[in-house]
Amino acid sequence: MDPLEKPAPDQVLIDQALNRMWAKFLPHLEERIDVLASANAALAAGKLTTGQRAAANTAAHNLAGVLGTFGLTKGTILAREAEILYSGEPETDPEAAAQLGRIADQLRVLIRNRKSGAAGYTLEK
């Protein structure tokens, strides 16, 4: 958005409300990333259980669905990648541990650095 251009009233209202919701749901989003990090540690150690893989798949699916709604389009792309790798079809490859570790780290950084404000939603569009 042009910095001199005023956002539409709807956008201001939505941005403000989204920022409040972001604060409310941030701990929940971080929990989902913790699930991915735990699964990744287990995968790297060759001890990933079916339950852990399914939990990581669900956490990644949820993150993919929600991050873009808060303006973090890149977060959705990364989470989708993790969702596919944890889908179990084919079996999650221990070789993917490094890649999944990077994804979890990147998601954590993206979430930590999300900027709020009038243009919050459109930051990455």
């Binding site: 709807d10 956008q11 209202l13 939505i14 409300a17 989204l18 919701m21 749901f25 929940h28 989003l29 669900t58 699916h61 949820n62 993919a64 669905g65 929600v66 991050l67 873009g68 709604t69 808060f70 389009t73 959705t76 989708r80 939603y121």
Partner: protein, 124 residues
């Protein structure tokens, strides 16, 4: 014109953002349900004009909830829009074959969600 819509989604964040979007941008009356079973009961009781239904939910998932809505004469006429984060073509075809009004994808844009729904349902 104010419309009434029911959102069925087990994820708190998605459900609340969708409700906020439809209430704030379009001034619609929004009801929310946290599960397919709760959504079925609410649809019968409140007779919304449309239902926004998540696909992946624990217990009764979106497609099963949709089939139950269609089986019940009290809800069979209510248009249903599926909301999904699944982007694979096979999933999309499977959902479209169910007979829903439309399939919408997560993440959605909170600023344009109501316009998208309005266009699909001819509410413009």
């Amino acid at each position: 014109m104010q419309h009434r819509i029911l959102i069925i989604d087990d994820e708190d964040d998605i459900r609340e953002v969708a409700a906020l979007s439809l209430e704030t941008v379009a001034d619609w009356e929004v009801e929310v349900a946290r599960s397919g079973a709760e959504g079925l009961a609410m649809a019968v009781a409140s007779q919304p004009e449309a239902i926004l239904l998540d696909v992946m939910m624990p217990g009764m998932d979106g497609p099963t909830t949709f089939r139950e809505l269609r089986k019940n004469p009290a809800t069979a006429h209510i248009p249903v829009l599926l909301l999904t984060a699944k982007v694979q073509n096979t999933d999309q075809r499977r959902f479209a074959d169910l007979g829903v009004e439309a399939v919408l994808f997560k993440p959605f844009d909170p600023l344009t969600l109501s316009a998208q729904i309005s266009q699909i349902l001819g509410w413009n």
